[in-house]
């Protein structure tokens, strides 16, 4: 009889043992046990979240370190200054109520670097506070439609942050700046998301050397001011209503040295003030440059406009297509530079009946620059009246 019982118990334990082994280690006791300024080295295993960090600490992971949420709320909540989270994999946040992999609550100087955040709704949610660094991380959200996903980095009412060298894929917005001040966003790559960058009611931001590919919009910039967008690449944002960059009700924007390639609309400027668009390459888009609404002090000069099916679709009040000395290179400009100063002698008119025709009969794009279309356009140029034209570049560049 005892022997029988022993056998039964042995049988049960032999099943239970691996279950015990797979169970994750709870992380909160480790944090509670540490004192301020400690470095907690995490091992190559899965730790149980969610956790709260309420003192200055460094969480240092190694290859294979995972901090797993319970799919209900945020995975890591940071409530202390000077926290560093490095080299861990964070996953399983809640889905549905703006939950995040890491949430920073009104704290300062937090560094989040070299982490992988996946299967989280928002990656990092920064609520208030200042001077955070978010660097070298990889983000992706749940495999849902982008309306249900969250943002890789969500900045809300925060200041002086740096976001650099991150990879963001399959999120809602790459970086969402809501009432954010003085933000540096550089060398990030955002792909397959809704907006790579999304500005709302923010100020003093610089976005440089980023690559935004295959999103709905590269940058959606709304109601913000003092924004510099420099040397970025916006590529293949091909959605029917997709833009390389949409500048909407913005003030003081510097847009220089960017490449806008193969988007549905390269750059659209709507109801904005003091927007300088200089030395960009706008090529291979369906519509190169678009404008709408009441724009003030918008200057578009020194840009290369090539291979756009419709070079410019300009509505609303006219915007300046030259800065008074220099215009842009338009690959459909058909006149000559007789004086040798690199500028054509006849102004360029940035709208034509061919582009109107294309908008009403899209299938005619099949004859893009075909022999017949070329003849049509030449005849049109012959009879066009530049004096009546509103959208003209007085100093088109000839190469």
């Amino acid at each position: 009889m005892w022997v029988f019982l022993f056998l039964v118990m042995a049988f049960c334990f032999s099943f239970q043992e691996p279950v015990f082994a797979e169970e994750a280690t709870p992380l909160q006791p480790l944090i509670d046990g540490a004192s301020a300024g400690d470095i907690i080295n995490l091992e190559n295993k899965t730790y149980n979240g969610p956790i709260r960090i309420d003192k200055p600490l460094t969480l240092q992971g190694e290859e294979g370190t995972v901090i797993e949420g319970d799919r209900k709320g945020d995975v890591i909540t940071v409530e202390a200054n000077d926290v560093t989270i490095r080299s861990v994999k964070i996953n399983q946040s809640g889905l549905g109520k703006q939950h995040a992999g890491i949430i920073l609550k009104k704290v300062e100087r937090v560094t989040i670097e070299s982490n992988t955040l996946e299967q989280v709704q928002n990656g990092i949610f920064v609520r208030g506070g200042r001077q955070h660094t978010i660097r070298d991380n990889t983000f992706s959200s749940y495999d849902e439609h982008f309306a249900k996903r969250g943002n890789a980095v969500h900045l809300l009412a925060t200041k002086n942050n740096v976001i650099e060298n991150n990879k963001m894929n399959h999120v809602q917005d790459g970086v969402y700046l809501d009432d954010a001040t003085d933000t540096i966003i550089q060398n990030n790559r955002v792909t397959d998301s809704r907006y790579a960058l999304h500005f709302m009611f923010s100020r003093e931001a610089i976005a440089q050397d980023n690559q935004f590919t295959n999103n709905m919009n590269g940058i959606m910039a709304m109601n913000s001011e003092d924004i510099r967008i420099v040397d970025n690449l916006f590529e293949r944002n091909l959605n029917y209503r997709g833009f390389g960059v949409l500048i909407y009700e913005m003030k003081n924007v510097d847009f220089e040295g960017n490449q806008l390639l193969y988007n549905h609309t390269g750059l659209e400027i709507q109801s904005s003030e003091n927007v300088i668009v200089k030395n960009n390459v706008v090529a291979g888009n369906y519509i190169g440059l678009a404008s709408k609404g009441l724009n003030k002090q918008v200057v578009f000069s020194g840009n290369d406009m090539a291979g756009n099916i419709i070079q410019a679709k300009l509505a609303g009040n006219p915007i300046a297509l030259d800065d008074g000395l220099l215009g842009n290179y338009w690959d459909d400009y058909r006149s000559y530079d007789l004086t040798g100063n690199g500028i054509g002698e006849v102004p360029y008119e940035a709208s034509s009946s061919t582009s109107d025709l294309l908008q009403s009969h899209p299938h005619l794009q099949f004859y893009f620059e075909s022999p017949a279309m070329t003849i049509w356009q030449s005849v049109e140029k012959m009879f066009s009246n530049l004096k009546d034209a509103v959208n003209i570049d007085r100093f088109p560049i000839v190469k």
């Binding site: 490449q259 390459v281 291979g284 090539a306 291979g307 899209p362 794009q365 099949f366 620059e369 075909s370």
Partner: protein
């Protein structure tokens, strides 16, 4: 006596005549322009299909059919006027052999001139160190194909008309139709028919005109099918597949053989010789 004899004789005659030197100069100029400007990207970082590539392609699409139609038609019509063709007919040779002989002979001499033209310009550009072989070969092939396609039309014109002047007139008429008017006609048609059949109309229209055939497939070959736009995406996908490529080849062959068949029919009927 076979078509080969005719071809050899035609080739020799062509090499002796002056029009060939003129054409060689013309082709050299043309290809220098094409290769010099085609080889330089105007915009850094963008290598897609631009209006520049388009205008270079158009230069070939305008000039090659014109030259081929004029030269081919006038050569045959000239022989008719001078009585040479009647002389051929007294020899023991079939009409088919005469036609193939003429096609091969004139075709070879035109291609030789084209080759000399592109060769010269490549050598010229080699001195400036800017030869882009892919562009060179592409434009050479486009031009060669246009010559082969339009030569057979030129021959049937030549056999049909009664003299050089008529050949000139008809050549220009055909050129204007294929290069200038055709697209306008299709565009006009596409705007009146129902939206559902537009794709079918455009697809058929490509194969009914050698100029369109070359234009569309060159753009596809350059991997720039997206410039045709989303509304005819289905066509772009289909034409880029191997089925489309086969259709392209077969149609090109039909465009060479059909006009030659018509020429044969004209010659057999003894019309206006």
């Amino acid at each position: 006596m076979t078509s080969w004899t005719i071809a050899k004789q035609e080739f020799k005659l062509a090499l002796r005549s002056r029009w060939l030197i003129l054409m060689a100069v013309l082709f050299t100029l043309l290809s220098v322009i094409l290769l010099f400007f085609g080889g330089q990207p105007v915009v850094d970082g963008f290598d897609g299909f631009t209006r520049q590539t388009a205008s270079l392609l158009n230069l070939s699409l305008f000039l090659m059919p014109l030259l081929t139609l004029l030269v081919g038609g006038m050569l045959i019509a000239g022989e008719k006027e001078d009585g040479q063709l009647v002389l051929y007919m007294t020899y023991p040779i079939t009409e088919r052999a005469i036609i193939f002989g003429k096609y091969i002979g004139i075709g070879l001499s035109l291609l030789t001139v084209l080759f000399i033209g592109y060769g010269t310009s490549t050598i010229i550009l080699l001195f400036f160190g800017t030869v882009q072989w892919s562009i060179t070969i592409l434009f050479f092939l486009i031009s060669a194909l246009l010559i082969l396609l339009f030569l057979s039309i030129a021959l049937s014109i030549g056999f049909f008309v009664s003299g050089r002047l008529q050949a000139l007139g008809m050549g220009l008429l055909f050129w204007a139709f294929f290069v200038l008017l055709y697209e306008f006609i299709v565009m006009a048609l596409s705007m009146v028919i129902s939206a559902k059949s537009v794709l079918l109309l455009l697809t058929i229209s490509v194969f009914l005109n050698p100029v369109e055939l070359i234009r569309v497939f060159t753009i596809l070959f350059l991997g720039s099918g997206t410039v045709f736009g989303p509304s005819i995406y289905d066509f772009t996908i289909w034409a880029s597949s191997w089925v489309g490529a086969t259709m392209f080849g077969v149609t090109a062959l039909v465009w060479i053989l059909c006009p030659l068949g018509i020429a044969h029919w004209i010659l057999r009927g003894g019309r206006r010789i």
